[in-house]
């Protein structure tokens, strides 16, 4: 069942088309990967979905309802949460507060304080950060800050989670942990749409992959189909990790 | 009818010349050195008073004073930046924080400079008479000193433009305005250049003040209103665009002249209204990026 779809999505910056007439869809329960060389428009697409940016034309629908044109907090409350490429945490607020914010404000129905507290604790537990709950977020390691972002996103009880380069900057051990976390999230019933550069990770856990290049969708399919796709190989020559 | 229009237009340009100068100065300080200098008007005031003092005490021709008070104010501005604002810049966590703290620091400067001026010169209104005769232009009469002011404003503006475009230092300034980090990599001594920019900004203010003193009475509290005008012009012309600020000054002068003709005393209110509308409609200004 389709949970997210975009039709004819286009975004211009000045005269340049950052995203050009892109159609995409994500089904419930899937893990879909979004890949492409630097500058392909991947984060821009996420920004369009999460309403950080507005579309020039086309539309984006979540669970059948149009979300393009909403404000970011409305998209979040509708059930779409995201993490950011450059980790955006609330540095001077303790870890717990970061996540509590999500539980208090980001859910579709709103939560009372005790419920939100419980929800936040569960989120922290899920990502493995309970012990650090009183630490100011800026004092965490990068890997933990990324976990914090995920916990905060999960606290908003999303149905769709957008992960923007979760693995960037992580060492191999942390990468494995991150991938396990992603699988755990999917097992909870949350659909995942993820941008990644690390090919191994993408290929191993994604059900489907969408490939962008210069703002256009150039290929789409299972990991096997993508790795053997001529266009993709040309575009990506040498780009693996 | 034509005489009236000429009257309004020229009056607007005369005022606009001064606005253009002080706006360019402010734009240098904000656009390049990233300091929203609320004390800009105080440098205008200093230029005015130094010129007045030189004229009254030593009988120095105000136009010659330009060459004297200019360097003085340039140096004061330069030193202020090197000591106060550079330190703020290095200790601020982000550009946003720096913009805020430098703005507040400039408030402090405003208090200090104004108070010092009051201590030296008292609070009374002062003035002098220079080239105070009428000139007939196509039927409308204008004061000679105001015409000279306009002339000098344009000359100074053009000279500065050439300086930016042709000299090495000018190019360094433009580079720093575009991208301070890269400019630093290219061998530009960023601290020096930014300090010079701030100094030049003060210099423009000083020139503006000197020219103002030729035509209008002055007092130590005169600066603030000009700061506000500079801000309005810079928003009008585009934050960061010096050409925009220069042209914007003339545009604002014209607007003020038209509004004054229709309803005297309302020009300042009209400026603010324009300012508010601009901020809401197009914060980057007419010529801004």
């Amino acid at each position: 069942m389709r949970i997210l779809e975009g039709k004819g999505v286009t975004k211009y910056f000045g005269g340049l088309a950052a995203i050009s007439n892109v159609d995409f869809e994500v089904d419930r329960g899937e893990i879909v990967g979004l890949i492409g060389p630097n500058g392909a428009g991947k984060t821009t697409l996420f920004n369009l979905i999460s309403a950080a940016l507005s579309l020039n034309s086309g539309e984006i629908r979540f669970k059948g309802e149009k979300i393009s044109g909403l404000k970011p907090h409305q998209v979040c409350r509708a059930g779409v949460a995201r993490t950011f490429q450059s980790v955006k945490i609330f540095g001077n607020i303790p870890v717990f507060g970061n996540v509590l914010l999500g539980a208090l404000f980001g859910t579709s129905t709103g939560m009372s304080s005790p419920d939100a507290t419980r929800e936040a604790m569960e989120s922290l537990e899920f990502v493995g950060l309970s012990a650090a709950r009183a630490t100011p977020a800026k004092d965490l390691t990068l890997a933990n800050q990324k976990r914090l972002e995920v916990a905060r996103a999960l606290a908003t009880k999303p149905e769709l989670l957008l992960l923007d380069e979760l693995i960037a900057g992580l060492n191999p051990a942390e990468t494995t942990e991150a991938m396990e976390l992603v699988t755990k999230i999917r097992d909870k019933g949350i659909t995942i749409f993820m941008i990644e550069h690390v090919m191994k990770a993408i290929m191993s856990i994604c059900d489907r992959i969408i490939v962008l290049h210069h703002g256009e969708k150039i290929a789409e399919g299972t990991p096997q189909e993508i790795t053997s796709n001529q266009t993709v190989i040309e575009v990506y020559l040498g780009k693996s990790s | 009818m034509l005489v009236e229009i000429l009257d309004i237009v020229v009056a607007g340009l005369l005022m606009g010349g001064i606005y253009a100068l002080i706006a360019v100065g402010f734009s240098l300080q904000y656009g390049v050195a990233r300091v929203l200098n609320i004390s800009h008007g105080e440098f205008i005031m200093l230029g005015a008073f130094i010129t007045w003092m030189l004229y009254k005490v030593l009988g120095v021709n105000p136009l010659v004073s330009l060459a004297i008070c200019g360097p003085i104010i340039l140096i004061i501005g330069f030193l202020l930046y090197r000591t106060l604002f550079t330190r703020l810049r290095t200790s601020s966590e982000s550009i946003g924080a720096y913009e805020g703290s430098s703005m507040l620091a400039s408030f402090g400067l405003l208090f200090i400079i104004q108070n010092v001026a009051i201590l030296i010169w008292g609070t009374d209104i002062k003035g002098y008479s220079y080239l105070n005769f009428g000139v007939n232009l196509g039927g409308a009469i204008f004061a000679a000193n105001r015409l000279v002011t306009l002339l000098f404003a344009v000359v100074i503006g053009a000279a500065f433009y050439l300086f930016l475009a042709r000299t090495r230092l000018g190019k360094a300034i433009r580079a720093a305005a575009q991208d301070p980090v890269t400019a630093g990599f290219m061998g530009v001594n960023i601290n020096q250049v930014l300090a010079l920019c701030f100094g030049f900004g003060a210099l423009m203010a000083g020139f503006g003040g000197a020219l103002i003193s030729m035509c209008y009475p002055i007092q130590p509290t005169m600066g603030f209103q000009y700061t506000i005008i500079a801000i309005i012009v810079v928003v009008l012309g585009g934050l960061g665009s010096m050409v925009g600020s220069f042209i914007g000054g003339f545009v604002l002068g014209l607007i003020g002249s038209i509004v004054s003709y229709w309803q005297p005393g309302l020009s300042l209110t009209a400026y603010y209204l324009l300012f508010i509308v601009l901020l809401l409609a197009k914060p980057t200004g007419i010529l801004g990026k």
């Binding site: 540095g91 914010l101 905060r152 | 928003v235």
Partner: protein, 317 residues
Amino acid sequence: MDISTLTSKRSLISESIILIIFILLAILPLYAPRYTVILLTSIFMYVVLTVSWVIFSGPTGYISLAPAAFFGVGIYTSAILGKILPLPIVICFGALASFCLALLVGALTLRLRGIYFAIFTFGLVEFIRHLLLFLELTVTGRRGRLVILVDQTIVYYVMLAIFAILLLTSYFIRRSKLGLALQSIGQNEDAAAHTGVNVTMVKVITFAISAFFMGATGAIMATRWTYIDPYTAFNPLYSFMPVLMAIFGGMGQLFGPVIGAAIFTYLEEVLLTRFPYYYMLIFGIILVVAILYLPGGLVGLAQKWRKGDLAEQHANP
């Protein structure tokens, strides 16, 4: 929002101290000289302006230079309505008028970047001043108006009441959902929006709440001047001073601004009588020194906010 049960001994002690101070302040007019009452009223005024300012500008980092506008609106409301309505209603109207103005201004401008917002609020005061002057001259034909006279003791008590209510409000905001949201906006506005915080609404409401108190203050303090005009009512100094006092006193703790304002007002009194020609200079120097050397300078605006009261108390559920 439930507030943590304040059972810790330390909290009880500081609570008691605060209560005692307020009781002392309440009975002060009975035995203190008139001059002290008037001085304290001035201190309360600046404290309220400063604490209100911090409620919004502290956590969010948006420097507002509008306090003079809201204060002035309160003053003018008092001048206009003072003769026809009883004092309590006048004060409420003053507060409400400022509240509405803040809603309007906030809705229009709080979507602008921080520095634009600051410039805008800076121009707002001057705009209202000149507009009002023009309107007065053309519509009423004369400049300014007279204000009703009110006994200084009444003014004292009203200000004390406003101060108390404000402190409670500030305290509860800090510990509430709203407080956490405000902090998050100051730390990373984008992330806050994506976490479900309606940032515009949070900013506008908080801005309006802070304006409410400034308006109320203006309405009662207007009675100090027998005659007011746009120039005295909308004086940019009433925007600069709260900022200065907040920076000096520190915005981290609830009482930072209170202390800053108290010290400054007293300092102003002393300077105005002894060195009337130097006080601007001294204030300017203090401001510059405070910005340069007091912890974090302006970065402290968002970060001095007491490290997540709400989060802290729930960190050990």
